[in-house]
Symmetry: C2
């Protein structure tokens, strides 16, 4: 019981940066498993993938005791645990709102299916797009059918890929359709009610990190 | 002189996580400036944008002493300094390799121009696409012209938006064309020689953070 309680209170403090690191560890463990590696220490993991060994131990300690003294981590077991922690041990269904270039690109993004996400529907307000499919076969529904399709296809996550001016209205629509997890690709601030997790991807942040690199190099 | 030396050695240790946070602070300061706020303490900044005050002070201390005792930070000055640190005080030209749905979406992404990035060219191997333009007017060149156009248009950053199987060859091509900063949107590991900064955007990591949220909620 005390372990469960410890876990519960710790979970409240887990930041997005931590879950992002768990995703990175998961990628590393997949690489190791594919390479036939059976056990790995936090030091070896850190060295091989340029991570921080103390951080790895701290991150994993939130969720239980996975390391074995003198052995390190069992690659396969830790991978399975991480998938469980991240909720990847079941298939999650995703709907993409906006069937423009970005929405269509995301619908067929090869990384998603591999990790257990299934893109089941695209939605668009443009009647010319409705009834068509992405190259990979995801159907484009009218946005007016969002609630019905979300229920029918058990969509858990909505991806927002609409123009900036339409984004907040679309978030509200997704929330009213029962969606509690939203990934937003539109620049600018959006809001969602408590209990709904809204995460934004800002491509500009990535470009700025490159700009920093070039600025330091140049002088 | 000692301040310059301190800055130099500190710069070597600056992780990508730090530059990502600088980008976030920059966004916050832009919001504050737009709202007419003139000074802000690290505490107020942290509270308003759900950041960590100690982390803010530590991150900024790497680059100099920007805070004024009893006042905090001057919003406009700090914003200008951060833009300088991130190398955003000059316009950076970007070329996108791959003019499929993702490349076309990125070419017209509204956030880039706003931050001083100019998308000047798209490149594609498909002759049917060459000679066309993105909706926003970015021309599509043949990939064979990458080196020539990179020099002519002074492209500093290459964005990779090609299928997985072509990605490493395209990175090599960009490097041989003189590019030293690459933003990759293809899933999977790519490598670049020392001196070239290669940053990858993995959409799956963002979805996994939402999956974690749903898993905690459900159980």
């Amino acid at each position: 019981m005390s372990r469960v309680n410890k876990r519960k209170s710790a979970l409240d403090q887990i930041s997005e940066l931590t879950t992002n690191r768990l995703s990175v560890y998961l990628r590393c463990l997949q690489d190791l498993e594919a390479a036939g590696v059976q056990t790995v220490s936090s030091h070896a993991l850190a060295e091989r993938f340029r991570l921080n060994a103390a951080q790895i131990r701290k991150d994993l300690a939130y969720f239980g005791e996975f390391g074995v003294r003198g052995v390190g981590y069992y690659v396969r077991d830790l991978r399975r645990h991480l998938r469980q922690i991240l909720g990847l041990d079941r298939q999650l269904r995703v709907g993409i709102i906006g069937a423009g270039n970005l929405g269509l690109a995301l619908a067929d993004y090869p990384g998603f299916r591999q990790e257990g996400f299934e893109i089941v529907a695209l939605f668009d307000a443009d009647h010319a797009r409705v009834g068509q499919h992405s190259r990979g076969g995801v159907p484009i529904h009218p946005i007016a059918d969002l609630r019905r399709i979300t229920r029918r296809d058990r969509v858990a996550i909505a991806v927002i890929a609409v123009p900036v001016t339409a984004a907040q209205a679309v978030v509200d629509l997704a929330v009213s359709a029962g969606i509690r997890a939203i990934l937003n690709f539109t620049p600018g601030a959006l809001s969602a009610p408590a209990g709904v997790k809204l995460k934004s991807v800002d491509f500009t942040v990535s470009l700025e990190s490159l700009s920093f690199h070039l600025a330091q190099e140049g002088g």
